[in-house]
């Protein structure tokens, strides 16, 4: 079945909320009905038809042609199916997604994959601050699924991560893995200051670590069978991450200020 194609006509002059444009909400709707969906976030009304040229197809697969850093909440609550964005998108793509596949070819704003619980999110370019983090007043960040950033990520990537795997193939900003509860965060290039600040449990793997906080304790060098099994699972998604996990790794336990059951690995 052909995918549903939404081709961006021009850069919107206000931020738009794209959360209604997900497969389970568009299923069974005609192109005309989709065109009438309101997306505005100011008093100026903008419908999907105003901003996108719509070519109908099966709603199980949605393709956005062109993108903008003002398109927020792309793929919010995605349960199944696929959304491909051939461009940039704004704040929190993949917010609270629980299944399916969301691919953003370009860059995205902050809070990508915020509180996602399942599925696969891939960002081809750079991600903003607070990757997978909880929003204002929420207690948990990502709780499941797989997130891959091919470029760099901003500050506090994986904040309050609870479960699931994040791979950042580029560099990470300051405080990656802050307040982690569990889960896995892998950073393949440089990493900002104080990784794992306030982490309770969970695993951070850094190819190029900065000086760790004094509350991380040296536990020696390990060749872990589990890391190799995990590397096998990741190989198809990120060869470089798999290679990193296959090497002998130094292990530091922390954050001793919090529970201290987390760990930071880096090549020995």
């Amino acid at each position: 079945m052909k995918p549903l194609v939404l081709a961006l006509k021009q850069e919107p002059d206000q931020r738009l909320d794209l959360s209604p444009l997900v497969p389970h909400l568009l299923d069974g709707k005609s192109a005309k009905e989709i065109a009438e969906i309101e997306l505005q976030t100011t008093r100026e009304k903008i419908t999907a038809g105003d901003i996108f040229k719509i070519r109908s197809g099966g709603a199980g697969s949605i393709r956005f042609e062109g993108g903008s850093l003002r398109l927020d909440n792309v793929g919010q609550g995605l349960k199944s199916g696929e959304i491909i964005v051939e461009g940039d998108c704004g704040k929190s793509p993949g917010r609270k997604m629980s299944g399916g596949n969301l691919v953003v070819a370009g860059d995205c704003g902050p809070f990508a994959g915020s509180a996602m619980s399942g599925g696969r999110l891939e960002i081809g370019g750079d991600a903003g601050d607070f990757l997978t983090a909880p929003l204002e007043g929420e207690m948990e960040g990502m709780t499941g699924g797989l997130l891959i950033v091919r470029g760099n990520a901003g500050e506090r990537a994986g904040d309050r991560l609870r479960r699931g795997t994040i791979v950042i193939e580029g560099a990470a900003g300051d405080f990656p893995g802050s307040r982690m509860i569990a889960g896995t965060l892998i950073v393949l290039k440089d990493c900002g200051t104080l990784p794992g600040y306030l982490m309770r449990r969970g695993t951070i793997v850094l190819a190029n670590p900065p000086e760790l906080a004094p509350t991380f304790v040296d536990c020696g060098i390990h060749e872990l069978a589990f890391a190799k099994v995990f590397a096998g699972l990741l190989r198809d998604e990120s060869r470089a991450a798999a290679r990193l996990l296959g090497r002998p790794l130094a292990r530091f336990a922390g954050d001793m200020a919090a529970l201290g059951k987390g760990e930071i690995f880096f090549p020995a």
Partner: protein, 363 residues
């Protein structure tokens, strides 16, 4: 009488209000920024934002959210300055500019005094975590200081030592940390006092964790000094009006809170907001953004602007020129203040009311 200007030229108050209403109602996304005003001014400004379907933010929002984000994602324990003065046998000060942030801090807490309601009635202990040597002196009291250029790691190390966990550090630093940990654990009622830009939400969450850990065996609480321009009062006003703190928008017709999307400077620099109302009645601060957008300013007299606003109306200082309700650090609550030097300069609420008169029905 109040001074009003349109494009830098003196104008009548009515003409200025009419021009301001025209600028704000023509905008797709107006933003009410600054919000340095009393409770009545904040109420009027937030109602205006609702009418205009714009967003509103406070000039010190970053500092506000350093505390508030911890409170709403992890929790915080608070006490009042009076409670601290009467009962605390241990003070833990964190940050270097505490007495600059609140000049009356030491007078209000009287650290050198024996706490009136402490049963042991022993001299207080004051610990101060402060960057640089020589900082943190209090008359009449021996202050123990921990020199720390990095508050993140200092607080983390201290919390780990209080919990009896291993940390790395030079021998002298570790000895000092253990001395501090000992004093904290033996406190009967300790109070942590913090403020300033050196602390972000992560270090405050670490401090909150330390306070929680200490409460397993004794009593310990917190006293954030917050920030000026009635920030705490405006946040509370916003809370009872919309259910949210500042950085809230009425763009869709209902209040929506988002600390990233509705940050005033970001909204303006990105071109998403196309007109601004700037309010600074306390200190007469100028807007921090660089982009040139239609601007209406309600500020204290003699405010220096980088670029003359389209409309500028002088407003009085709450509690000085006119009676005002505002947040008071002394009581940690909203109080009424009588004008100390009553004048005829109008309040923010009065001027916002004037502007509102000229708004069309559909604005």
């Amino acid at each position: 009488m109040s001074e009003a200007r349109i494009n830098g030229k003196p104008a009548s108050l009515a003409a200025a209000a009419e021009r301001a209403a025209a600028i704000l109602s023509l905008a797709r996304m107006p933003v009410v920024a600054g919000l340095g005003t009393d409770v009545a001014g904040a109420r009027a400004a937030i109602l205006l934002a609702e009418k205009l379907r714009g967003a509103y933010d406070h000039m010190h929002a970053a500092r506000i959210f350093a505390d508030l984000d911890v409170m709403r994602q992890a929790g915080l324990m608070f006490t009042t300055p009076n409670e601290a003065r009467l009962r605390a046998d241990v003070f833990l000060f964190i940050g270097k500019d505490l007495t600059k942030i609140w000049p009356d801090l030491l007078e209000r807490l009287s650290p050198a005094e024996i706490p009136a309601y402490d049963l042991a009635r022993e001299p207080r202990k004051l610990l101060w975590i402060v960057p640089g040597r020589g900082g943190g002196k209090v008359e009449g009291l021996a202050v123990q200081t921990l020199d720390s250029s990095d508050l993140h790691t200092a607080l983390a190390s201290l919390r780990a030592r209080v919990a009896g966990k291993a940390v790395y550090g030079a021998k002298g630093t570790l000895r000092k940390l253990d001395e501090f940990a000992d004093v904290l654990k033996n406190a009967r009622f300790g109070v942590a006092v913090w403020g300033g830009d050196g602390l972000d939400s992560l270090s405050i969450e670490m401090l909150h964790g330390l306070i929680l850990d200490l409460n397993k065996t004794t009593r310990f609480s917190g006293l954030p000094l917050g920030v000026g321009a009635n920030a705490a009062g405006v946040v509370q006003t916003s809370g009872w009006m919309t259910g949210f703190p500042v950085r809230t928008s009425f763009g869709r017709g209902f209040p929506e809170h988002d600390t990233w999307r509705f940050e005033a400077t970001r909204l303006i620099e990105s071109g998403e907001a196309d007109a601004a109302l700037w309010i600074s009645a306390y200190d007469g601060e100028a807007p921090p953004w660089k982009k040139n957008i239609p601007l209406v300013a309600l500020t204290a007299p003699q405010t220096a602007f980088a670029r003359e606003p389209q409309v500028c109306i002088e407003v009085g200082c709450p509690g000085v020129d006119h009676d005002a309700a505002e947040f008071s650090r002394e009581t940690a609550a909203i109080v009424g203040r009588l004008a100390s030097q009553p004048s005829h300069i109008p309040s923010v609420a009065t001027i916002v009311g004037e502007i509102e008169k000229y708004l069309g029905g559909d604005a």
